[in-house]
Every structure is written in structure tokens, then in C-alpha cells.
């Protein structure tokens, strides 16, 4: 499109960006406040960060959150990738569409409904609320997004590659691990990172199935925020921001690298 942005357009965009980022930087700014509030900045301090690292309970929650995120993303990626391969191998078009619609239900479902129905499910089959129920829930709501990330990659794959491998004497396992998986790796990676962010971001589902003894960062922040302003939460947001940026940069470099190697093969 030819036209340069007018000044008013630039101003509009600038306002949107400022509004999007202001709350985040506002939080981080006050995490260095030696006063106790988010109203007036009294002096620079790192005591709130110190408080995060001195609080053993909070550290355990942080570790729990990371473990749940990594484990659930890993398991969801495996099940979801195999699921996507299975969906593509379905011959019946109607059946394939039904499976795909079922796949997408959890993506569009409101998380309150997912949380409530999982709570009923776990109580019915007798899963104790805590680490296990949270982990299973996170795996469950991450699987469909992995499928959606992997599916297009499989569909664009040339099926002759598989036929060639089979003709050359590869067994099914070899076809999967040596032909399909390397080809769809970018989709698998994208799915893994999406699952990771889904898990780290989730509040509502975890809130329903977490029980008493176990907590993740989101649930903990919620209960801290309900109690009022605590600059420890600000310090946590500073740390979360850095980790988020790190994940984005990491993902960027990993995809760039796999794109490069892909390019050198072709």
C-alpha cells in the first residue's frame, strides 16, 4: 500500500502502544519502590526482589509452576503430535471433520467451564486435587493447540516421502521418527511453546482443580491481589516479564536456526 502514515495515524498507534505497555512498566517501576504503595515513589530498593527470593513458599510455587508448565507442554506435545498424525491418516473425510471439531471444543470453551467440568471429572474418578489434577488439566487443554500447530505442517508434507521410505524398507516406527517428525519439527516446536505459554498463563482452570495444598503462580497472585497491593507481586511481575522476553527470544532463535538448516537441506 502506497501511502505513508499520516501524523494522526502515528499518534493513534503510539497511544495504543503506550496503553498496552504502560501497565506492565508501571508494575515493574514500582517494584523498585522503597515505599509500600504504588502511589508515590520514595526511593530505589531491591528489597521486594529480595523478599521473593527469601520466601520459601513463593519459591516452591515458582518451581511448581515451571515444572507443571514444562511437563504438561512436553506430554501434550507428544500426544498432540501423534494425534495430528493420526487425524491425517484418517481416510473418512466425515470422521476427520468430527475429530477436528471435537479437537477445537476445548480451545473455544470458556476456561471457567473447562475448570468446573474437570473438577467434576476428577471428583468422580477419584483423582486427588493437587499436583496431579493440575498437571492433567494443563496437558488436557494444551493438546488441541499442539494439534492445530502440527496439522498444517503434516498436510503440506509430500506423501511420496513416506511412500519412498516404506518402499525402501523402513518400518512404521522409522517412518514416524526419521521422516515425519524431522519434517514437521517447526510445527512441533511452535506447539510446544504455545502449550508452555498456555500453562504459564492459565489461571481459571488451575483455580478450580488445585485444591488446598498446591498452588501455581497465577493462583497465588490472585490471592495476593485480593488481599490488596503488595509490592512483592510487583517484583514477581518484573521477573515474569524478563522470563517472558527470554522465552520469546529463545523461540525466535530456535525457529530461525531450524529454518536455516531446513533451507540448507532443500
Amino acid at each position: 500500500m502506497r501511502s505513508q502514515l499520516t501524523t494522526s495515524a502515528k499518534v493513534f498507534l503510539a497511544i495504543v502502544f503506550v496503553i498496552l505497555y504502560a501497565p506492565i512498566f508501571y508494575l515493574i517501576f514500582y517494584s523498585f519502590n522503597s515505599g509500600g504503595s504504588m502511589g508515590s515513589f520514595e526511593g530505589f530498593t531491591l528489597e521486594h526482589y529480595q523478599a521473593v527470593f527469601d520466601d520459601n513458599r513463593l519459591l516452591v510455587i515458582l518451581i511448581n509452576t515451571v515444572i507443571v508448565a514444562l511437563l504438561s507442554a512436553l506430554i501434550a506435545t507428544i500426544i498432540g503430535t501423534l494425534g495430528a498424525v493420526g487425524i491425517v491418516s484418517l481416510k473418512d473425510n466425515k470422521l476427520r471433520n468430527i475429530v477436528l471439531s471435537l479437537n477445537n471444543i476445548l480451545i473455544v470453551s470458556p476456561d471457567v467451564v473447562i475448570g468446573a467440568s474437570f473438577l467434576i471429572l476428577f471428583t468422580m474418578i477419584g483423582v486427588k486435587l493437587g499436583f496431579t489434577s493440575v498437571l492433567i488439566s494443563h496437558i488436557a487443554f494444551s493438546i488441541p493447540i499442539v494439534v492445530l500447530m502440527v496439522l498444517p505442517k503434516i498436510l503440506e508434507m509430500n506423501t511420496n516421502l513416506i511412500d519412498a521410505a516404506l518402499d525402501l524398507g523402513a518400518n512404521r516406527r522409522d517412518v514416524l521418527t526419521r521422516v515425519i517428525v524431522p519434517y514437521i519439527k517447526p510445527g512441533i516446536l511452535a506447539g510446544f511453546f504455545m502449550a508452555l505459554t498456555y500453562s504459564l498463563d492459565d489461571f481459571a482452570v488451575t483455580f478450580f482443580v488445585t485444591g488446598n495444598g498446591f498452588s501455581t503462580l497465577s493462583v497465588e497472585i490472585y490471592s495476593m491481589a485480593r488481599a490488596g497491593i503488595s509490592l512483592t507481586v510487583n517484583a514477581i511481575s518484573g521477573l515474569v516479564f524478563i522470563v517472558t522476553i527470554a522465552i520469546v527470544v529463545m523461540y525466535y532463535f530456535i525457529t530461525m536456526r531450524s529454518k536455516k538448516t531446513e533451507g540448507s537441506i532443500q
Binding site: L5, G39, G86, V108, A116, T159, Y222
Partner: protein, 267 residues
Amino acid sequence: MKFKSKPAFVPYLLWIALFVIAPIGLVLYYSMLDLNGEFTLVNYKNFFTSAYLTMTLTSFWYAFIITFFTLLISYPTAYLLTKTKHKHLWLMLIIIPSWINLLLKTYAFIGIFGLYGPVNALMKIVGFDPTQILFTDFSFVFVAVYIFIPFMIIPIFNALDKMNPSLIYAARDLGASPLTTFRRVIFPLTIEGVKSGIQVTFIPALSLFMITRLIAGNKVITLGTAIEQQFLVAQNWGMGSTIAVFLILSMFAIMLFTRTKKKGGRV
């Protein structure tokens, strides 16, 4: 594809049975149980009393307002973004805030809208008395719009980005005013993006409950708040499930309404 691997497909199918089909069935089943676990339709009868119907209508009204303002801000933003140099970099910068934990962003507004927060400080400079902005429906709508903007921008941006620019030149060359070009060419061609944007905003807006609790201070009750209340506070899973059934039904209705039609022909 000749390739088949049945055992590997089993976990995925199990997942569908256990975590997609079973939960919906269980919610339906529980919606027909009363507090003592007896089979009854009393929850549905209760749902159709004025209290619950008013709550449902307000919830829809808020979701509508939130979606409207989100669209009002997101569409022009997405449109202008496609015209910038390095548009994908700018889009990336729009997406990053959506990856920051939702609770943290909501928490920020407790400070921003608070009695001693920056907004009230600004009001003071302009000459107004500080007022409590927190715990009003304005603050609820504002925070919800703030949270949904990136999710609305992404599908609209993609739709605009895919659009063939020569169509716009053609419209202009044929004498259409910018407004007509937008109304008759650009908007209809990007309606699919708008629809998916509405889908990812409206359904969550119906079910938000942490924002209502933290920002609106129980003044706004959405369907999501009511479900959380019934399940975790009142421990009335039957009533909670009944509300969930209606939330699921609204979800299907919205999906039907915003269904993307796959038409033949070029994009």
C-alpha cells in the same frame, strides 16, 4: 496417506473421550441434580427466574460492550499496522503484552485506578477531586478491553495482510471515496478476521471472573462469576452446571454466528 500407526493414536482418542466428551456429559448430568444429588429439573426452573435471567442479560450486555470497544480500537490499529514498515515486528510488539500473565496485568490496574494511583493524580492536576474508579463497571470494561485488544488485532491484521492491495487501487481508480472503499471493499474482505476476533473476545468476556472479582469488586456478575460462585463458594454444583450448560449453549450460538465460510476461489 498410506502410513498408519494405530497404537500411537490411542492416547489422543482417549483424551477426546475423557477430556472433551466426558466433561460435557458430566456438566449436563450434574445440571439435573439438586443439592442432595437427587434427579430434578429444579436448577433449570431456578435459572428462568428473574434474578438469573437479569444476570445473564447483564453478562451479555457487558460482553457486547467489551467486544464493541475492543473492535473499535483494534480494527484501526490493525489497519495502520499493515501500513507500517517492518509490520511484522510491530505486530510482534503488540503480541508480547498478551503473553504477560493475565493476573499481573489485572493487578496493575488495582494500582492505576486506585485512590492514590496515577489516574487520580492526573485528575487532581486537571482540577477534579479524586474519586474511586476501581470497583465500577467502567474500570471493569476498561481492563477487559485492554486485555482483549491483542487477541482481536491478530486475526484482523492477518485478514488485512492477506488482502490484495490492487483491489483498493481499483476501487479508487473507479472513483470510490475512501469511505466507500472501506465500506464496500476493505471491510467485506476482512470480515472473516473480524469474526474470529469477535469469537475470541465475546466468549471469554462472558466468562471472565477474576477481573470482576479484582477490579469490579463483585459489582459486576458475569456468567463466569456465577459459575465460580456456585462451584467454589456455595458448593452447589448442580446450579453451577446449569449456568455452565447455558454458557456452553451461548458459546455454540456465537460460534455458529461467527462461523467462517470457506468459499472457493482465490484469497
